[in-house]
Symmetry: C2
Subunit: 387 residues, 2 copies
């Protein structure tokens, strides 16, 4: 096990109808609020009205930034930063899925930054201060509700990049499983793949003697696999939605990487694909991950054997390690296909035109990943296998 620090100050409020606590949760931070949200779904569901009602209760002045994109754009983030500055915003409230939360985090950090918020993503500046943030989550997926990370896209440069800081952990996140009842099946599927992918990035590690972290990771995968199918079959299954939501939070709240060298190469590759094609993050990951697995499993076949046995209950009888490992990888692909996720880039209308550019961008600062360090050639191979 490696040395590590674990610190997560976000307060999670979990359960049905917890939005009713919104006023008291926001109030300590101020009453000049920027409300950040996406499309019209929170208006259709009534959540928008609920949120405004609770903010009115505390006499808040609410400014709005609607229209956050699924891959939130730098231009939109900059609009939010402008509002924060001109309106002396005291608190940024995100209501929506991971993209909305990420945009809110970038806005909160950018509002306190003299320069361009994009600087944070390219290590030209580090976050020194940020407005306080709170979230009401409507989608089990990114884990953004309980971490200090945000990913935004720059459409001028066709880049999708992340920023991170202890200062952009949400002060609170309200997780009501019922708010995810109306999530369409395709977004539920993307969320499931996203959660599982977060676990993969932290589970497939060369670090040894990390039994607790491994078992926690397997716990999340087993929970998501079972409850994901239930939530797809019946979107209003409270416990399935609740289990998915909690699993999504734990997949990326700092529990899994303690003491572990993590990978994140596949996310890096996917960011390049969606920077050019604006595809759903989960869809990209569903296509790429089994191909990444096949490309790297020989680095430590035993880890993939453990994955196959514990997560997919592969029957080891009469099989060698390589066969067991490959069966686990095939089970991953089969599950993604069974829940309706794409298996090839072509299904999303992507051909080999920009493969080289994507591989080049993904490895621009050198090889990526740690389970196997991927060069540009490795990335080209994985992308080619994903066509």
């Amino acid at each position: 096990m490696n040395a590590f620090e674990l610190y997560n100050p976000t307060k999670l409020i979990f359960g049905a109808d917890k939005v009713k606590q919104l006023g008291e949760l926001v109030k300590p931070y101020g009453t000049r609020i920027l409300l950040v949200y996406g499309g019209g779904s929170i208006k259709k569901s009534g959540l928008y009205d609920d949120v405004l009602f609770r903010l009115n209760e505390i006499g808040a002045t609410v400014h709005e930034l609607p229209g956050i994109e699924p891959n939130p754009r730098l231009t939109t983030v900059n609009k939010g930063i402008d509002i924060c500055r001109t309106e002396n915003i005291e608190f940024v409230l995100a209501v929506g899925g991971g993209s909305v939360l990420d945009a809110a985090k970038a806005i909160a950090a950018g509002a306190k930054h003299g320069g361009d918020v994009w600087d944070f993503t390219i290590h030209r500046a580090t976050i020194q201060d940020a407005l306080p943030i709170g979230t009401v989550l409507t989608l089990a997926a990114t884990g953004s509700e309980m971490n200090g990370n945000a990913v935004i896209s720059n459409w001028e440069t066709k880049q999708k990049r992340g920023m991170g800081s202890k200062l952009i952990y949400p002060k609170f996140s309200i997780l009501d499983p019922k708010l995810t009842y109306t999530v369409p099946v395709d977004q539920t599927v993307n969320g499931i793949v996203d959660i599982m992918s977060h676990v993969f990035e932290q589970y497939f590690s060369l670090t040894t003697d990390i039994p607790l972290q491994e078992r926690f990771a397997e716990s999340i995968l087993l929970t998501v696999i079972e409850n994901g199918e239930k939530a797809i079959a019946d979107g209003t299954d409270y416990d399935a939605r609740a289990n998915l939501l909690l699993a999504g939070t734990y997949a990326l709240n700092g529990t899994l990487p303690t003491g572990v060298t993590t990978d994140w190469a596949t996310h890096g590759i996917e960011h390049e694909v969606s920077a050019i094609y604006d595809i759903a993050h989960g869809a990209g990951l569903a296509i790429l991950f089994p191909n990444w697995m096949k490309h790297v499993y020989k680095e430590r076949v035993g880890k993939f054997v453990q994955y196959a046995l514990r997560v997919w209950h592969v029957d080891p009888q009469g099989k060698n390690d390589e066969e067991i490992a490959l069966e686990g990888i095939e089970a991953t692909r089969a599950y993604f296909t069974r829940i309706g996720a794409p298996a090839t880039l072509r299904e999303l209308g992507i051909n080999d035109e920009h493969l080289d550019r994507m591989a080049e961008e993904a490895t621009q600062f050198g090889p990526i990943g740690s389970f196997k360090q991927l060069t540009k050639d490795d990335v080209v191979s994985i992308l080619t296998a994903s066509l």
Copy 2:
């Protein structure tokens, strides 16, 4: 799954030689320090000198409260409170195991309280303020390093009681597995039993549809069972000590009870035993828990079947649920015995003299527990089976 709040602001610093960060960790809170510790073991190991060196680096004024007992006493806590008041202490630093940490928490809360600190344990007052606390942990056991609970004993009234507050979470806890190398085997054993017992209290629940919480609990148990034996066999096995330490923290840092109705009856009974006999908490729990299990398993035999299969890998072939459940309970007892924990109260020189009084005290506010609500008669049965 029940509704819940999850909030844990303690910063965990985990790894070899992390005590070197002590100065920078303490400094933001002040330089007038109360150093709380137990017997002489931290002086023998050199840790005491290391701690003082790091505190001197930041120019701290250090007052000391040595001699915290294994079941920390109210009288000792009151001594610490007096020092805090007369010396204008700004920060309480606990160096030791769970008892030292608990004493430090009680001192930190008591120092800011007008009345008797015992009031917090009998719900006559709630903690409104506390001095900031930091810890350097030397024993994997109580989980006190990352929660807001403290248990202290009143020897005048022969009572052992807990207090809890968000205000007594340590600001930081330093966990260096190497600091646990010198823990004697019997204390390592008590720690193992303590950790497993914390999991049991939160795992054996009637709450349904909590797959993630159940699997997390099983993950901790499996990790402790395996690494506990390794740490006993070789006290200087870094990874075994590290895995045990991390498991101990997660067993009681708020991860397991999210959305779950927990039990805690066995802890309540054990507190009454050690309030009268001053036995090690882990020893008492090792004796009581399998007997509690046998007393309650019929309330939901399926949960005990799951425990037997997933944690002890009981072979279910040709057995009915009751047989599988009982085999899991027997495996628990066998493991405790294998690592050298006691199985009967008589082994500790305890007879039936005070059984009735202990049962009376344990149930003085009504039935205890939730998996099965235990009346005084139930407690007498469990204690009698434990003789």
